[in-house]
């Protein structure tokens, strides 16, 4: 036994000695929305350059940025993926740990779509107000602000099918939830007049915003904390269910899902790029400038990511469902110059 013990102790010692060796691959973590695009680029980067293939971990925007801000050094990640811009609070946390020079790279836009079962009722006349009426906690009914008791879509919009309300929305840990709240719930709250009624009722501005984002708790709206695959499974089991998906996920599953139009526009990379489809959000990744030149291939990877060959409308990222950034050239220049956040543009 003692022989075995010392062997294993020696193995651990050897391993910890080598872990001090230079890391030669780029390490990335963060948003599960950016993960598919990052994995496409990482695979292509490994196939097309002499650098090793980068590692892309999943885990969510907030978790990724938290790890990004843990400090500078080889045992911290080089790039954080995020499906939302970095918050002030996170920048401050970064600075506290010595992560000061951060390069923000916008890779493009992601469309957020509403889709239902392929064989279920068709939802073709959505506007944000409908979604708010369906799942908001307090809605306008006959000119008064009341608790939401709507059972079917047709109750508040005769153009919609007489189907039971069953929404599956991203849980609060998802970056997608934030976009959903801002661009759908808040917009719907304003459009239905609920917001005005709340202000007239004497609520402060912050309280009104919180109240607008409140979702009814009687089971008509379900938070999904897992991936889109979980939402898809829930839709599969519910004829009337409507789920919130990323555009790329929907396009890969058109055989089981039917998309709902928003304000009369069907989502596609074209309508989102043209600004016709209203619900979309920018996707980012953040680079630690201090790691450029230390971790081999880091800057090359970033430049490769935003190059025309990959990120323009005919590249593999757009093929998969990313909406190309019309200002790609500017982003390319920014990466080439290693321009950090907060520096003069």
């Amino acid at each position: 036994m003692s022989v075995k013990l010392s062997v294993s102790a020696a193995a651990i010692a050897a391993v910890s000695a080598t872990s001090a060796m230079a890391r030669d691959n780029v390490q990335i973590a963060g948003s599960s929305t950016v993960l598919p695009y990052a994995s496409i680029v990482a695979e292509a980067f490994g196939e097309n350059t002499d650098f090793p293939t980068p590692v892309v971990e999943s885990g969510g925007s907030s978790a990724g940025l938290k790890r990004f801000c843990e400090g500078v050094g080889e045992n911290t990640i080089d790039i954080a993926n995020a499906s939302r811009a970095m918050r002030e609070r996170e920048i401050a946390a970064c600075a506290e740990n010595g992560v000061t020079d951060i390069i923000e790279v916008r890779i493009g836009y992601d469309g957020i779509v509403f889709a239902s079962q392929h064989s279920g009722p068709a939802f073709n006349a959505f506007v944000p107000a409908d979604i708010y009426n369906a799942i908001g906690a307090q809605v306008m009914k006959d000119g008064a602000l009341v608790e939401n008791t709507y059972e079917t879509w047709a109750e508040f919009n005769a153009d919609l099918p007489d189907a039971e309300i069953a929404m599956f929305i991203p849980g609060t840990k998802h970056g997608t939830r934030e976009v959903f709240e801002e661009q759908v719930l808040l917009a719907g709250c304003e459009a239905t007049g609920a917001m005005e009624a709340m202000i007239a009722g004497g609520m402060s501005e912050d309280d009104v915003e919180d109240a607008c984002l409140d979702v009814r708790q009687d089971g008509k709206s379900v938070d999904i904390d897992g991936d889109y695959t979980e939402t898809l499974a829930r839709i599969d089991a519910n004829t009337n269910g409507i789920g919130v998906f990323g555009l790329a996920f929907y396009e890969n599953n058109t055989d089981t899902l039917k998309v709902a139009t928003m304000s009369g526009v069907a989502p596609s990379t074209e309508t989102i790029a043209a600004g016709e489809y209203p619900v979309s959000r920018p996707l980012f990744f953040y680079i630690k400038k201090a790691h450029i030149g230390v971790i081999p291939g880091l800057k090359e990877f970033a430049q490769f990511f935003v190059s025309d060959d990959l990120a323009d409308p005919s590249g593999p990222l757009a093929q998969y469902g990313l909406v190309s950034d019309p200002e790609l050239a500017k982003t390319q220049q920014m990466v080439a110059d290693e321009k950090v956040m907060g520096a003069d543009m």
Binding site: M1, S19, I40, N48, V55, G59, T229, D255, D309, Q319
Partner: protein
């Protein structure tokens, strides 16, 4: 006389005649047997349903629709492609052009263009580039390639995609399927066994045809190595001390209760512990099989300690007493007599503990083994321990979450491979027990 006494001595009937109470008891026994049998039948039914659904969903992962084409790459084309940024795309375009001109020569009576061919093909550039970089002498000579078809064409042959279901898809047109049928008749598109699924690495989300579980198997192997090397000696040493040497007092009782408790702790708790201790405090590398192995060691230790103690207890005290009686020391008794007799039980417990660790996903989620991790084979033994890698269950989890249905199929295929490993390990445990176990 005797007749009368017989009658009075057996008022409740004889062994041959069955009275009401015996009937009742027999019926109760029959009912109990029926309950037991029903329980087993229900269990078997679910097992069969599970096995059938796993095999039905997973078997397609072992075949892959391929496009077989012979084409020649000229030196100019090679130089031209190598000068690009996205070289693989350039190779893909050369391949598409070659296929297109061959099809035109054959005179298929289906309309097609380069875009349609592109939609039929998976990501092929990487394979072509790798081949010609490794074999530069083959440039300028005709080479036959078997390259993966796109996920939807693959699904068409496996019944996952039908003409109706591609109507809304922008990845494949209904008319493309006419071309697919024509190519199938011409023998250019065919189904082949997917070796790459068993030996290959993970791929980007747009390339399900190239994805394999091989690298994740290696990751699991290194993790199991760590678990074995750490948990077997520690677990056995702890059990021998507790069972043979430790005094019985409140302190050892406390340890005993804690070990039993640890065995019941949800595995994700060990993941959280591993993240805090091994990664954030000890600064071991992220996503490394070493860290995964350490976390799983913590999880496996209680299992091994409990089974080792049970098999040490099963060695009769007479053996210990005999050894002590002929003058052996306590340690000699344990190592010369008790431990060898307990070894089969210890081994069985260890293998079952390892099998449990092999299938564990939850702790691996927290130490960064989910995402696009298992992308290349490690370069050596040390690199196998510390370079980022995934493990089989984590890879399955990753695939199941991807948008393309081709990956979902791969996830089921991965489950089959994982189950085969588990089955083998459990079989080895049973064989060891049968061969070496002694009964007293």
């Amino acid at each position: 006389m005797t007749d009368v006494s017989m009658e009075s001595a057996a008022p409740r009937g004889t062994l041959t005649t069955v009275d009401a109470r015996t009937k009742k008891r027999n019926a109760a026994e029959k009912r109990f047997r029926a309950y037991g049998l029903t329980a087993i039948v229900i269990g078997l039914f679910f097992l069969v349903v599970l096995a059938v659904s796993i095999i039905r969903s997973g078997l397609p992962a072992f075949t892959q629709t391929v496009v077989e084409v012979e084409f020649t790459l000229t030196q100019e084309q090679f130089d031209e492609a190598e000068s690009q940024l996205l070289k693989t795309k350039a190779y893909e375009n050369i391949f598409i052009a070659a296929l297109q001109s061959q099809l035109e020569q054959r005179g298929l009576n289906v309309a097609f263009d380069a875009a349609a061919i592109e939609r039929l093909l998976g990501k092929t550039g990487g394979t072509i580039r790798e081949y010609f970089r490794a074999n530069p002498d083959r440039i300028g000579t005709p080479v036959s390639f078997e390259l993966a078809a796109s996920s939807r064409v693959d699904g068409y042959f496996k019944g996952r995609v039908t003409r109706d279901s591609v109507v809304d898809s922008r990845f494949l047109m209904v008319t493309d399927l006419d071309l697919v049928d024509a190519l199938y008749d011409a023998g250019i598109i065919k189904s082949a066994f997917n070796w790459n699924f068993i030996t290959g690495a993970d791929t980007g989300v747009d390339n399900p045809g190239g994805a394999g579980i091989g690298v994740a198997v290696i990751g699991s192997f290194f993790m199991m190595l760590v678990v074995l090397v750490l948990s077997l000696p520690i677990g056995v040493a702890a059990s021998i001390y507790l069972e043979e040497f430790a005094p019985k007092n409140w302190f050892t009782d406390l340890i005993e209760v804690n070990i039993s408790n640890l065995a019941a702790v949800p595995s994700i708790v060990f993941g959280i512990l591993g993240l805090a201790v091994f990664i954030q405090f000890m600064h071991l590398p992220q996503s490394a099989p070493l860290v995964g192995g350490l976390v799983l060691t913590l999880m496996t230790l209680p299992t091994i300690i409990i089974s080792t103690r049970a098999s040490l207890k099963a060695v009769p005290p007479s053996i210990r007493e005999a050894a002590l009686g002929v003058g052996a020391s306590k340690m000699q008794t344990v190592f010369h007599h008790v431990l060898p007799l307990a070894a089969p039980g210890i081994l069985t417990g260890t293998i079952i503990g390892l099998a449990q660790a092999l299938g564990e996903t939850a702790p691996l989620l927290l130490i960064g083994m989910v995402g696009y991790i298992a992308r290349a084979y490690p370069e050596g033994v040390v690199s196998g321990f510390i370079d980022p890698n995934s493990a089989m269950p984590a890879q399955i989890y990753t695939w199941a979450a991807r948008a393309d249905a081709g990956f979902y199929e791969k996830a089921w295929g991965g489950i089959i491979i994982l189950l085969l490993f588990l089955l083998t390990m459990n079989l080895i445990a049973i064989i060891l027990r049968r061969r070496f176990e002694r009964r007293w």
